[in-house]
Every structure is written in structure tokens, then in C-alpha cells.
């Protein structure tokens, strides 16, 4: 990561206007949200990571320039509509017929050209600084694979596979530890978008894309798939947990362990391994290596199931196995047609996968 970009000159001059507009948008976006949930609003104007922050600062410049143009043209328009309306005491004669003016035309051609040039140069610099950023030492590499309708995350260097809830370390600007993501798709187009961390980048089959984040604050950041990918595009939610360095190392440590074995859940495990579950789901250490569905080795370390569609509770797990459509209609997981006893056993087994 190179140091933070300087604020461009234009921004400084137009800062008051930009702040006014941004302030309005912030107030507008916040005044109706309940205070305790504001942190959960994926607001693009509250960046917590370098790419999102560079975009935010570029957006201030763009908002200031467009805001200024708006005020001027809007003013001219209102003025001409009010000033040149036909009055009650009209003599019925036609107004002076004016056909045009080359000087005026030249002025309103050249000035916009200059504005476009300034905006383009400022934009090109941000494009370059985000897209062509070098990977520093200490980078975490993650492969994100989009599936209908969930996310697979693989940490090849760390030997971890998980789903839907991405864990990354917080990045201290003095010792950066950003996360670089390689984006792939297993089926249709998807898009990785966590507004407070970075702009979106698509996951496209037969294509390798990249994006990166370096969150500056720990916490949970929400996002979701931003490219229509099929029936349940709406519930392909995305949760990024930004951990402290210690928490992250601890999390990695736990995720690398094989699945827990609990003799109390033997029966559930047998049912799990002898039904169609294993065609799609992997549990390390068991006889399963399916990859159509999320890896379940550490299922219970996740807070949600079905790609964020429901909290990971016992009842939800049971409902999900019995009839996935009840939680996420159109999900590709089939209803397993288990009887109540088997359902309880499998749920109990899954609950041991901590």
C-alpha cells in the first residue's frame, strides 16, 4: 500500500460544498436508522478500508463538481422560467427572435470540456491506485468462489476452507496486512460487494478477477451479492468479520483442526454419511468431500446458515434440513425427506461440528 493519496487541489477549494452534500446524504441516510443498528448499515460514505476510502474521497470531488454545476444550471433554469414567463399584461407581440450566439456556444463548450478533463485526471489516479496496488508482505490471500447462492472462501496458504462468513485480520497502516481476494465463480455471474470495505468486483465463470481490502477497524461488515445470479440472488448475503491479529490467528488455528468427533452424535453422523448430504458437503476427517455446498467441518463456528439468510440456531438448522425452501425458497439444497427421529439425529451431529 502506498501512503494515502493527497487530497486533490479541486477538492480543497470545493470542500465546503462537498461536505454540505455529503453531510446531507449522511444525515438523510442516518436520521431514520435506529442508532444501535447504524454500524450494520453498509453505507458507502462510511469507509473503513483503503479502497473504499479512496473512492469516498473521489466521490467528494465528484459530488462537489456536479453539485456546483447543478446549482448553476438549476439557477439559470429557474431564473429563465420565472423571469420570462408570459405576464398577465401581455401586448400579444412576439418577443425578439434570437437565433443563437457563437461566443456563448463556445463558452458553454469549453468550460464543460475543462471540467471533464479535471474529473478524468482525478478519477484515473484513483483507478490506478486501487487496481494496480502492489501486494505488501504480510498479505493474506483468499480465494472467493461464488456459487448459486452462497460464498466459498479458501485460504490456500493457511489450509482453511469456510463459507459465507469471511474472517480477515485488521490492517494497521504501519504494518499492513491486507487481504487480497481472487474471485472465481462455479456457475453464474456474482459480485463481491462489502460497501464499507471496497467497491464491487464481479465473479465470472471462466475468468479470474481480483480485489483487495485492508480494514482499519475490527467488527462485522455486511454486504451481499451484487450481480443477479438466479432465484435467490437476494439472500446471497455476505458477512466479513474483521478480527484483531490475535483473534484471527486463533480463528485460523481452530479452522485448521479436523472435525470434532463426539460419540454422542454417532447415529447422526451415520445418517449424514449414508444419505445424499455427502454428495454436496464436505466434513474433514469424514468420508465426505462434496463441493457443491458449503464445507461443514466447522459449521457451528459460523453465526448464520444459508449464506446469512438465518441465524445458526438449532431450530433453524432443523428447519433447513427438513425443508430449505422454508428459509430460502429456490435454494439448490434439496429437502432431505428425513423422518423426525433422523432429523433430530442429524441436527445433533451438525451441532457437534464446532
Amino acid at each position: 500500500m502506498k501512503g494515502k493519496d493527497k487530497v486533490p487541489g479541486m477538492t480543497r477549494k470545493l470542500a465546503p460544498l462537498a461536505l454540505l452534500i455529503a453531510g446531507f446524504l449522511l444525515v438523510a441516510s442516518l436520521c431514520f436508522g435506529a442508532p444501535e443498528s447504524r454500524a450494520q448499515i453498509p453505507n458507502i460514505f462510511r469507509p473503513e478500508s483503503t479502497p473504499a476510502d479512496s473512492i469516498f474521497r473521489l466521490s467528494l470531488l465528484v459530488l462537489a463538481v456536479t453539485g456546483l454545476i447543478f446549482l448553476i444550471v438549476f439557477g439559470l433554469l429557474v431564473y429563465s422560467v420565472v423571469k420570462y414567463r408570459r405576464r398577465g399584461a401581455d401586448d400579444g407581440r412576439e418577443p425578439p427572435q434570437v437565433y443563437g450566439s457563437n461566443q456563448v456556444e463556445l463558452a458553454w463548450t469549453v468550460i464543460p470540456v475543462l471540467i471533464v478533463l479535471v474529473l478524468f485526471l482525478a478519477t484515473a489516479r484513483v483507478i490506478h491506485s486501487i487496481q494496480d496496488a502492489p501486494e505488501p508482505r504480510g498479505t493474506i490471500r483468499v480465494i472467493a468462489i461464488g456459487h448459486q447462492f452462497w460464498w466459498e472462501f479458501r485460504y490456500p496458504a493457511l489450509g482453511v476452507v469456510t463459507a459465507n462468513e469471511l474472517h480477515v485480520p485488521v490492517s494497521d497502516p504501519s504494518h499492513p496486512s491486507p487481504t487480497f481476494l481472487t474471485l472465481l465463480s462455479a456457475d453464474t455471474d456474482h459480485s463481491f460487494w462489502v460497501p464499507r470495505l471496497a467497491g464491487k468486483t464481479d465473479l465470472i465463470p471462466n475468468r479470474v478477477n481480483h480485489t483487495w481490502i485492508d480494514p482499519h477497524e475490527t467488527g462485522l461488515y455486511l454486504g451481499q451479492c451484487a450481480q443477479y445470479c438466479g432465484t435467490q440472488h437476494a439472500k446471497m448475503l455476505l458477512r466479513v468479520y474483521v478480527d484483531s491479529q490475535e483473534q484471527f490467528e486463533e480463528w485460523i488455528e481452530k479452522q485448521r483442526m479436523p472435525a470434532a468427533t463426539d460419540s454422542g452424535a454417532e447415529e447422526g453422523r451415520r445418517i449424514f454419511e449414508s444419505t445424499a448430504c455427502v454428495n454436496c458437503h464436505a466434513v474433514s476427517g469424514a468420508v465426505t468431500d462434496g463441493r457443491f455446498g458449503p464445507d461443514l467441518t466447522h459449521l457451528m463456528s459460523r453465526n448464520t446458515i444459508a449464506s446469512g439468510a438465518a441465524p445458526n440456531t438449532r431450530e433453524n438448522l432443523r428447519t433447513w434440513i427438513r425443508n430449505p425452501d422454508a428459509i430460502k425458497p429456490g435454494s439448490l439444497m434439496p429437502a432431505m425427506q428425513l423422518n423426525d427421529h433422523d432429523l433430530d439425529a442429524v441436527t445433533a451431529y451438525l451441532e457437534t461440528l464446532r
Binding site: Q40, T66, V73, R85, L119, V126, P195, P205, A226
Partner: protein, 557 residues
């Protein structure tokens, strides 16, 4: 010239049985009747597309709503987008163009009247094919099915692996067939405008509406052809084992995006340039001044035409293009803003120093100017590709392009309806109802589309059938949906006004607006042959010259 027309046929026709009169409309090759057919057909689809939009907005009014299933929601946004672009806005603009261009350039019909009829019926058939998917998409047992791939139908969602049944095929066929009709109309416009102008009307003396339709037609040929090609490639993929877009067999999803958007972006200008054309005719008449900077307006339009052919990949900023490609499409896209801005300035220049009459057509055009200004500025925001990485595919984009299509195009279209309704029907509309329509629709429009920008900036992606509470999106979606009902009320008043005026309106006379272009020199409605003798013109405003012989335009042009 104004008095040389003969009223003929109208009275006789009314006495014939209704079946014969309807038969007349089916076999007609008259540009005026075809124009009206286009418009009526598009109005029907406007209502259908509007119902689809309303279903979506009711579903999104509160979080976790269960008004419709995700499958139905996905069909609704696909059909809404496809219908509105291909079977509402395109045909309605072509309808006005077909009706007005021959009248405004002083000729008796289009260059190819039979091609004109063929084009209309192909477009009509395309729309029927698309909607047949509701009953035939999956066989009768699957009735109620419809395409659910989104209006830009990104691969590989359209491949057989992800889109079973035939709904996607009906989508493809519908667009293929109507696309051929569209290209036919474009050829017809170009030939008519280049070859059939009345004596004295050099290119530099054409009404702007004719100029803008000429540019639009040229763009249609360049833009719709790639879409037609892509539809054929998609059918090859689906039926004869091709792999253009089939990613599971090594095809390219990005190739489809390029094909679609090399059509899709010029398409925006194909739609908006005729809207500019209406504004360029209406604003001068109600400001009582000639258009400001006519040559510059023409040049800016041609410039938009060319530059807009090189901006398509700004729809693809998030697909992982290189930083150089992203920079290129940033500057081309921002550059389009310059000629567009010049147009807005020229319209303001036209009003400047005039005597503005706030009749319904003018009100809608003033609304258009305000809204198109904002649409252009949000367009500049989206052109800055890093900003686009945040805003793209969110509700911000949805708000932006509805600002263009509803706030820009539909507003000028309503203006055009009121402006030319007396010409087409021979009767005046009710000004009171028209003003009710304007204000209701204006309030509804702003409630819906102003507030729709905000959830986009708060991270709400488009095309989601529901959302969770607590993300700060609830209140905005509620307001947006409330606005829809104001818009519906406006449209109901509009349709009521048209129907009432058609039966009970006052007789309009040939030239109710004291206007200056040739269509106002004949009767309302014009006879089948338009002009008893072909007019001869000396300036851009032939009727001004007649009304003001002491100060004619040709002295200054």
C-alpha cells in the same frame, strides 16, 4: 399554403361498418395510421409494464415481505425492463417519428410505406412472442412462467443449464423479430429524410425533429444489429450445441456483455434523442422564439451519436477490466456529457428572453429539463469508474436510469402527446386534466426516484426480491413505493383525458399552438395525402414566414 388543404374522407369513413374500418387499420400503409398504431400498441404495453413495476414495488414496500415469491419477482423485473425498453419506449418514439417526419418535411408518406407496415407488425409480433412465454414458456403445465434472466440476460444464466424450458427462447425470439422491424424502420427514416424533403428544405433547414430522428435511425442500424447477432448466437448455443456464451464448455460470459452493451448504451441515446427532438420542437413554440443555436444543436446530436458508440463498457466497470480500459471508458463517458450539456444550455437559451406559456406540453418539457440535468449529473458520478464500483448495480443506478427514461424521455413523451394530440385527433385535450396529470406525475416521480438513490448508497443491490430490516433501507423503500401510487393516479388522469377529449374535446383547428413547422399547415387530422400541394419552404420556420411576411426567417439564416 396553410389554406390549400381539402377535408376529405373523414365523414364517409365514419358511416362504414366497424369491421371495415378496423380492416382499414390492419392493412394500412399510411404513415399516420401506422404511427397511431405504434402509439396505441405502446400504450397498452406501458400499462402492462407499469403493472409489473407496481408488483415489484409492493413486494419491496416493507422488509421480508411475502407478496410474491422470488421466482415471480425475478420474472417481473425481467419482463418490466424488456417491455419498457423494447415494446413501450421504442415503438412509441417510432410511432411519433413515423407520424411526424413526413408531415414535418412536407411529403406524403414514408419512402417505403409497405416496409413501414411490415416493421410495425414485426414489432407487434415480437411483443406477442415475448408475452406468449407466460402461457407457453414451459408448456401448459408450466403456465405463468416467463423469462427470469434480467433484461440484459447475462450469460451463463441464459444457457440451458440455468434456464430450462422455453421462456428464454421466447425472450430471444421476441427481441430478434422486433429488432428486425426496428432496423426496417431505421432504414425507412434515413431514406425518407434524405430523399423526400419538400422543395427548398435543405438539410440545414430541416426541423430539428427530422435531424434528430435521422441521427437516431443511423444509431439504430449500428446498435441493434449486434444485439440481433447476439440473439442468434444465443439460440445457436441453446439449440445447436454452440459455445459462444456457454461458460461450462469454455465460452465467454464477458463476450455477451460486450455484445449486449454495444447495443445497450447507444440504445439509451436511441431513446433519448427522439425525446430531445420533442423538446426541441415544443420549447421554442411555447417560448415564442426560434431554437437557440440550431447548427450547434445538430452538431451536438451528431457528436452524441458518434461518442455514444464508444462508451458501452461503462456498464462493465465491475467485471475486472484493466485499469487502462476503465480509464478509457471513464473519459469517453464523461465526454458524452459535454454535447448533452450543450443541448441543455441551448434549450435554456431558447427560453431566455421569450414569453413562456405554461401549457401542458411546455410544463412537461420544463420538468424534463430539470430531471435530465440531474440524470446527467448522476451519470457523471457513475462514469467515474471507482465511484461506479460502489454505485453500479445498486439502487442508485436504478434511480439514475429511471431518471433518464421516466424523468427525461417519458416526460417529453407526455409533452409530445399533449402537443400533437390536437393534430392527430382534431380535438383539443382538457388543459385542467392535463395539469392534474402533470402535477400528480411530477410528485409521484420525485417521491419514487429521488429517494431511490439513497438505498443504493446504503448498499442495496438491485434485483433483490426482499431485504432484511435494520440496514437503513426500510423507510426509503416505503417512500419509493408510495410515489408509485401518485404516478398511477397521474397516468389514470392522462388516459381519462385522452378518452374524454377524443369524444368531447373542442375542435382544434389546423394550428392551435400558433406554431411554425409544416405539420400545422394542414388540417387536423391531416388528410391521407397530407398536403394538397407539396409545400415549398425558404427557412426552418415556414409558417413564421407566412405569418410574419414583414420579418421572415430566411432573411437571417
Amino acid at each position: 399554403m396553410a389554406s390549400e388543404t381539402i377535408a376529405l374522407g373523414v365523414v364517409d369513413q365514419d358511416r362504414r361498418p366497424i369491421s371495415e374500418r378496423l380492416h382499414d387499420w390492419v392493412v394500412t400503409v399510411d404513415h399516420k395510421k401506422l404511427g397511431i398504431l405504434y402509439i396505441l400498441y405502446a400504450l397498452l404495453f406501458l400499462v402492462i409494464g407499469g403493472i409489473e413495476a407496481t408488483i415489484m414495488r409492493i413486494q419491496l414496500i416493507v422488509p421480508n415481505n411475502h407478496f410474491v415469491s422470488p421466482e415471480v419477482f425475478n420474472r417481473m423485473f425481467t419482463m418490466h425492463g424488456t417491455t419498457m425498453i423494447f415494446f413501450v419506449v421504442m415503438p412509441i418514439l417510432f410511432g411519433f417519428g413515423t407520424y411526424l417526419v413526413p408531415l414535418m418535411i412536407g411529403t406524403r408518406d414514408m419512402a417505403f410505406p409497405r416496409l413501414n407496415a411490415l416493421s410495425f407488425w414485426l414489432t407487434a409480433f415480437g411483443g406477442l412472442l415475448l408475452y406468449y412465454s407466460f402461457i407457453g414458456g414451459n408448456g401448459l403445465y408450466g403456465a405463468g412462467n416467463a423469462p427470469d434472466v434480467g433484461w440484459f440476460a447475462y450469460a451463463p444464466l441464459t444457457s440451458r443449464a440455468f434456464s430450462r424450458g422455453h421462456s428464454t427462447d421466447f425472450w430471444t425470439l421476441g427481441l430478434l423479430v422486433s429488432g428486425i422491424g426496428t432496423i426496417g424502420t431505421a432504414v425507412n427514416f434515413i431514406t425518407t429524410i434524405l430523399c423526400m424533403r419538400c422543395p427548398g428544405m435543405t438539410l440545414g433547414k430541416m426541423p430539428l425533429l427530422a435531424w434528430l430522428n435521422l441521427v437516431m435511425a443511423g444509431m439504430v442500424i449500428l446498435a441493434v444489429s449486434p444485439l440481433t447477432a447476439a440473439q442468434i448466437m444465443l439460440s445457436i448455443d441453446r439449440y445447436t450445441g454452440g459455445h459462444f456464451f456457454d461458460t461450462q464448455a469454455g465460452g465467454s460470459a464477458v463476450l455477451w456483455m460486450h455484445f449486449f452493451w454495444i447495443f445497450g448504451h447507444p440504445e439509451v441515446y436511441v431513446l433519448v434523442i427522439p425525446a430531445f427532438a420533442f423538446a426541441s420542437e415544443i420549447i421554442p413554440v411555447f417560448s415564442r422564439k426560434p431554437i437557440f443555436g440550431y447548427p450547434v444543436m445538430v452538431a451536438a446530436t451528431v457528436c452524441i451519436g458518434f461518442v455514444s458508440l464508444s462508451v458501452w463498457a461503462h456498464h462493465m466497470f465491475t467485471v475486472g477490466m484493466s485499469s487502462y480500459a476503465n480509464s478509457f471508458f471513464t473519459i469517453t463517458t464523461m465526454a458524452v456529457g459535454v454535447p448533452t450539456g450543450i443541448k441543455i444550455f441551448n434549450w435554456i437559451g431558447t427560453m431566455w428572453g421569450g414569453k413562456i406559456q405554461f401549457r401542458a406540453p411546455m410544463l412537461f418539457c420544463i420538468g424534463f429539463l430539470f430531471q435530465f440535468l440531474i440524470a446527467g449529473l448522476t451519470g457523471i458520478m457513475l462514469a467515474a469508474s471507482p465511484f461506479n464500483w460502489q454505485l453500479g448495480n445498486s439502487y442508485f443506478v436504478v434511480a439514475h436510469f429511471h431518471y433518464v427514461i421516466v424523468g427525461g424521455i417519458l416526460f417529453t413523451l407526455f409533452g409530445a402527446f399533449y402537443y400533437w394530440f390536437p393534430k392527430m385527433s382534431g380535438r383539443m385535450y382538457s388543459e385542467t386534466l392535463a395539469k392534474w396529470h402533470f402535477w400528480l406525475f411530477l410528485i409521484g416521480f420525485h417521491l419514487t426516484f429521488d429517494f431511490m438513490h439513497i438505498p443504493g448508497m446504503l448498499g442495496m443491490p438491485r434485483r433483490i426480491y426482499t431485504y432484511e430490516p435494520g440496514r437503513g433501507w426500510d423507510i426509503w423503500n416505503l417512500i419509493v413505493t408510495i410515489g408509485v401510487f401518485f404516478q398511477i393516479a397521474g397516468v389514470v388522469v392522462f388516459v381519462g383525458n385522452l378518452l374524454w377529449s377524443l369524444c368531447k374535446g373542442e375542435t382544434a383547428g389546423g394550428d392551435p399552438w400558433d406554431a411554425w413547422t409544416l405539420e400545422w399547415s394542414t388540417t387536423s387530422p391531416p388528410p391521407e395525402y397530407n398536403f394538397a400541394t407539396i409545400p415549398v419552404v425558404e427557412s426552418r420556420r415556414p409558417l413564421w414566414d407566412i405569418k410574419h411576411p414583414e420579418d421572415p426567417d430566411w432573411k437571417y439564416e
